[in-house]
Amino acid sequence: MSADGTIHARGIRKSFGPKLVLKDVDLDIASGEICCIIGPSGSGKSTLLRCVNGLETVDSGVLKVNGEDLGYYETETAFHALSKKEIAEQRTRIGMVFQQFNLFPNMTSRENIMAGPVLVKGADRKESAKRAQELLASVGLAGFGDYYPAQLSGGQQQRVAIARSLAMDPEIMLFDEPTSALDPEKVGEVLAVMKDLAKKGMTMVVVTHEMGFAREVSDSLLFMDEGVVVERGDARAVLADPKELRTKAFLDKVL
């Protein structure tokens, strides 16, 4: 069976200086699974997501994404870091959507979407432009190809950012609080795009505060607090009937 689109983590530890932010975290995500990670700020949920993309390196533990050890290769005695080129290659298979969109302000929406395929994969410009047009249409921004990020609203920018990640044809999409920086009225348009994506069978890991999205779309739910996975299970089951006291206390406050 192909391991594409899967994430497997065992005993991940990560510290920033003396502060341990991930304490033996386990994570198993099947291909096509939609997993929401919730928890209070500072619980390590964003860090976990950033580790899965290689933006942070884990201190110890096993982390396999798409069936490969992320950023390292394993020998008898240790994990050895891969070359930058190999890491970049692995990253092209993982899409990342940031809270602050992080579109390149010096490029139009279309150029942003084409940047990955053309600059990194060396794809044909014309075909990439056509693909970019399709992707823009799929996020509801068909006429916005020539707009620069600064000319778009937050919700529009985030949808372009999603299209930019999708242009690389990743097996996994990671969302780091994708709607937290948006005006409340723009949240819906971004969630709609994400729901579309979920229906197409993309593996998605979403760090979010949108409990409605978690309930409606998510397969599994992970509740983290202080660097530990407190509870995990079926999304609707956890939201309706949390087993842990800590989860219950958190949900009572946010729901």
């Binding site: 993309n53 290689g54 933006l55 930058k84 080129k85 970049a88 290659e89 692995q90 990253r91 092209t92 993982i94 899409g95 990342m96 940031f98 602050q100 992080n102 579109l103 390149f104 302000p105 010096n106 139009t108 940047a115 990955g116 600059l119 990194v120 509801g140 921004l141 006429g143 916005f144 020539d146 707009y147 620069y148 600064a150 000319q151 609203s153 919700g155 529009q156 930019r164 990640s165 690389m168 723009k186 819906g188 348009e189 709609a192 795009v193």
Partner: protein
């Protein structure tokens, strides 16, 4: 004056109060400042124009003198050459300085400290006299006899020393300007580039440098203006740039002051000429307007905000 101190009289004319202009309040200090500054300007102007020692006739005669113009051309050449070379070397140093590899970053750091920490005049004289330190320059393969030896004294002509000195010094300053530009690019931009799998050079070319430009370009314009005047220092090496050309003439004619005025006027003219494009550049790349790239500013927004799906 008393009118201000006494109580204010209200008069009712037929004029509609809503149309009356609102006048600025002027303090007594403002009037005094006007009077003093005008008197001062008048005094200086009078003294400059009536003092025969200024010899304005001589100034006019030499202003477009062949020697002076040749010196001016050399000054312009030195400015352009040392700015271009200094910026390129500065870019290299800035990239080295931001390297994750410690010895490379440290090398750039030491270079910048040395060249910014010593006077440029001293550096110029140093390069001029480098032959005293290394009389022979050998190009060849280390630890073998193969290679050619060059006499450093012949190689370092005054103008070479001037160019090397100005370039190496400018590179240190440009490195800091460029590095400042790099660090103005948000961390999120680099993470976004990383998540797309961009290589280091690609990130630099497509993401970091284009976004750093708005802060680098106006500062570089300032450096050009500074460099134009800085070139006068190389007159100590006997390079016949603008100041040295003036000195060469007054050494012969003893018309020191008029010739210094000639040189100063040229520096002033060139600086004013340069500061116009500089202020345009600054406006163009100012923080608020540079959010949208230049070529996009013509685009008119007509599409509705956020078409809902």
């Amino acid at each position: 004056m008393l009118k201000f101190l006494g109580h204010r009289r209200q008069t009712t004319s037929g004029k509609d109060p809503a149309l009356k202009p609102r006048l600025r309040r002027r303090s007594a200090f403002e009037y005094i400042a006007w009077i003093v500054c005008c008197l001062l300007a008048l005094g200086i102007l009078l003294s400059v124009s009536t003092n025969p020692n200024f010899r304005w006739g001589v100034v006019a005669r030499y202003f477009t003198h062949e020697t002076i113009i040749r010196g001016l051309m050399l000054t312009i050449f030195l400015t352009v050459a040392s700015m271009v070379l200094g910026t390129l070397l500065g870019l290299l140093l800035a990239i080295m300085r931001s390297s994750r590899i410690k010895p490379i970053a440290a090398t750039a750091g030491v270079y910048i400290t040395l060249f910014r920490g010593t006077p440029v005049l001293v550096q110029l004289i140093f390069w001029f006299n480098i032959a005293a330190l290394y009389p022979n320059l050998t190009l060849g393969i280390p630890f073998t006899d193969i290679g050619i030896a060059i006499d450093v004294n012949a190689l370092i002509a005054p103008i070479t020393a001037a160019l090397i000195g100005l370039t190496l010094n400018e590179a240190a300053y440009m490195a800091e300007i460029i590095r400042g530009g790099f660090s103005s690019v948000g961390k999120g931009q680099i993470e976004a580039a990383d998540s797309l799998g961009m290589s280091g050079a690609m990130k630099m070319r497509k993401v970091i440098i284009p976004q750093a430009m708005p802060s680098i370009i106006p500062a570089t314009g300032n450096q050009v203006i500074g460099m134009f005047k800085e070139t006068s220092l190389v007159s100590v090496l006997g390079v016949a740039e603008l100041l040295q050309s003036a000195q060469l003439i007054y050494a012969r004619t003893y018309e020191t002051i008029p010739l210094l005025i000639v040189a100063s006027l040229w520096y002033l003219v060139m600086t004013l000429l340069l500061s116009y494009p500089q202020s345009k550049l600054e406006q163009k790349y100012s923080r608020t307007s540079s959010r949208i790239p230049r070529k996009a500013k013509g685009i008119v927004l007509t599409a509705p905000e956020g078409i809902a799906r």
